[in-house]
């Protein structure tokens, strides 16, 4: 198959980017989308041109490195699929394919399709953990957890932190990402002790990082490659209200 690519090329966040056109011919539909980009990059290298920068690593859909917009959708057209798991058979011969980086103020462009998502790490740092030191843990089976809750916590914790939710949201909200971590920990007895403090701090950090507010359109879950559900946002809101009622709501440093 042949494809006509339009790819966003940008040197750094301060540069003004531009779209450039590339055509690839005789592409095997069974290769992955990133393998198609590999082919393009080898071609560019041989022409002594700067290859397209994009983040990727495990190519198994779990590390969360990859992700950019394909024809306006984070990770492209296939449901519940990261870019690295997307295959060319999802496209048609002679398709026009538009590639752009995730667009959000809190995700500055580093180069081409690669963006800086350190803001996500700062949200986690502000409270996305159980405060326990190595070696202090009690015997594992002394904590019994209903399977239902453990399974639900797992589903929240399956978030890969790729940022598709932010890119999908018209307000660039990080609510789905933040709520997945809040939910994961608030569903488990280990995480409940610090629950009120955690949600207050993480929400405050999310706001400080410049992410927009959530208006419950559901676009984030619809585009999430791991299908993290809207229920997480509901749980965060519940935790947040309960936190503010009990006077825990405070600024990150307060």
């Amino acid at each position: 198959m042949n494809v006509n690519l339009k790819i966003w090329r940008q040197g750094s966040d301060s540069d003004k980017g531009t779209l450039k056109a590339y055509r690839l011919e005789n592409i095997d539909p069974n290769i992955s989308f990133l393998e198609m980009l590999d082919i393009l990059n080898i071609k560019l290298v041989k022409e002594k041109k700067d290859p397209v920068a994009f983040d990727h690593d495990c190519r198994e859909g779990i590390c969360g490195s990859c992700g950019f917009m394909i024809n306006g959708r984070p990770h492209g057209p296939q449901k519940a699929t990261t870019v690295c798991q997307l295959h060319m058979r999802a496209f048609n011969n002679e398709d026009d394919i538009l590639l752009e980086p995730f667009r959000a103020e809190s995700f500055p462009v580093i180069k081409d399709l690669s963006v800086d998502r350190k803001s996500f790490d700062r949200i986690i740092s502000s409270g996305g953990y159980v405060s326990t030191n190595t070696g202090e843990a009690p015997e594992a089976n002394s904590i019994s957890i209903e399977k239902e809750y453990a399974d639900e916590a797992f589903l929240s914790s399956a978030c890969i932190g790729c940022g598709a939710c932010v890119a999908a949201c018209k307000n660039s909200s990080a609510m789905l990402f933040t709520s997945a971590k809040v939910s994961h920990l608030s569903l488990l007895p280990q995480g409940q002790k610090e629950g009120k403090d955690r949600v207050a701090k993480m929400v405050a950090t999310m706001d400080e990082e410049g992410f927009g507010s959530c208006t419950n359109t559901g676009a984030c879950s619809a585009e999430c490659p791991k299908e993290i559900g809207q229920i997480n946002i509901a749980r965060l809101n519940q935790e947040y209200i309960s936190s503010s009622l009990s006077g825990f709501l405070k600024k990150k440093d307060g």
Binding site: I42, D55, D57, T134, A140, S144, S157, G161
Partner: protein, 640 residues
Amino acid sequence: MTQSNLFSKAPEGELYTKWEEYKGSLNKLTPEEANKYKIIVIGTGLAGASASATLAERGFNVHAFSFHESPRRAHSIAAQGGINAAKNYKSDGDSVMRLFYDTIKGGDFRSREDNVYRLAEISKNIIDQCVAQGVPFAREYGGLLDNRSFGGVQVSRTFYARGQTGQQLLLGAYSALSRQMEKKKVVFYPRHDMLDVVLVEGKAKGIVTRNLVDGKVETHSADIVILATGGYSNVYYLSTNAMASNVTANWRAHRKGALFANPSFTQIHPTCIPVKNDFQSKLTLMSESLRNDGRVWVPKKKNDQRKPTEIPEEERDYYLERIYPAFGNLVPRDVASRRAKEVCDEGRGIGPTGFAVYLDFQKAIEEKGEDFIREKYGNLFDMYQNITDENPYKTPMKIYPAVHYTMGGLWVDYNLMTTIKGLFSIGESNFSDHGANRLGASALMQGLADGYFVVPHTAMDFLAKETPLMQDITDRPEFKEAAEKTKNEIAKLMSVDGKLAVDEVHRELGKIVWDKIGMARNEAGLKEALLEIPKIKEKFWNDISIPGSDKDINQELEKALRIKDFIELAELMAFDALDRKESCGAHFREEYQTEENEAERNDQDYKYVAAWDYSENEEPKLYKEELKYNNVKLKTRSYK
């Protein structure tokens, strides 16, 4: 008998109490004293993140480096199946002793008793630690933790979180690390490649890094350096490792004097999705846990072109169940891989290339139901379908062995210190506790054991005997010289200006390593490899092209710096495989096999760890650590 000239420094005494007693005897520092020291940790996967978090909790100032943008991207995240621990929750007779023995036997009697016993002991603490952090392990309806079985063992001791155990454990370690980042006890340097280790008066006191975003070559000093930089499977080009996994940090340490042990012990995992075409960039693992319910088979007839569902039961050869009635489909990885190669070499392989075998779930689906299978392996089945466009609930999976893990790595003593003082190596990056073959669900166990429970004690002991630097010493000549050398190397690579993309050279290298130092090796092939690899090296230095600038994100330059080291490593692997004139675990020398095609070990002459030094223009020199077995009897591994 071989001549030993390398010693583990494990203390004398009873195996069962050795670690506890030794730990008690080590020097301690209070958090106030620890605060005077700075520690550099390279890599933030399971081993690096757990070590960084724990050392910071103890009061040390940790500077953690990763080439990723976030610690959560490390390749530990992709581990699927599970983590072993001798909890004996299933009351099936498991114990620390049994996990110890299974691991020693699984490694074909080429690992250190003392280390492996310690690992088995610590395994229990790891589960406690992870549960306390909120890792959502699979549970039974009663609310207690669930377990499953893995290859090479007959008990159920593997803890898991669906097919995403590595992800959940890494997110646990990452959360502990994040907590210390918030407390300013850990400073994290994302998108930094370590390109050299700096020695001052014979001790590791710092590193040289390249900032991958702006290209700046920088130096950093510290009281000790810990490498947690993973394995080197990508020397084969195609492997299940992530694209950027590399040997560079370890290789640079090796060039500075750290011995490299058992480099040719590389694990070929039996259940991966087969190679489909020349553009393939990496291989995808299908977790070993699938062998709990999946049955491996090929047609009895050669070149059988029928669809698998059209081949009647009596015309199928469930060869693992046939050859190994006791362990069946759950034989260790090296055995399962070699047997798959054997049936394919006989012409009974399936699929378009003939290099694949079936992994069939039909019986399990009939007996236990599709929902049960979905609950257990759903994400793996989805991944398989996504990649291959085939539905494994309806037709058997096609699988073939692929490189997955490297048992070899930097040689470390009982304290996990390399032969360079003050340079530690943990997790997959060291030559590890797995001998010549690692059992499934043991890599996560080792990474976390080293990081949470071993190196925090041994590094503290080392530091307690060191005067803290208390200042930046990067203005010393050793640092300037190392930075200069790195800059020159980058300039040299940028100036090659040939016609090949570095990936093309890497692919060529990988083919040689796979063909000659892969699942089966022989003297002639290894000698050929030693003639062919230098040609690849020449091609690399004359023909590659790196467009763009080195003062910017340059992913071609990043790859070139890594491939340069892979080429040198490949040579060492060939020397190591040539030296070991026996078959053991994953190292299968065709000249040394029994009549039943099983590995033929030679304990008389090769019961040692082979640790190699580096020299620029001469053949590497071999140092031997004689392995002592006081608590287990050496015997021929049998899974029949």
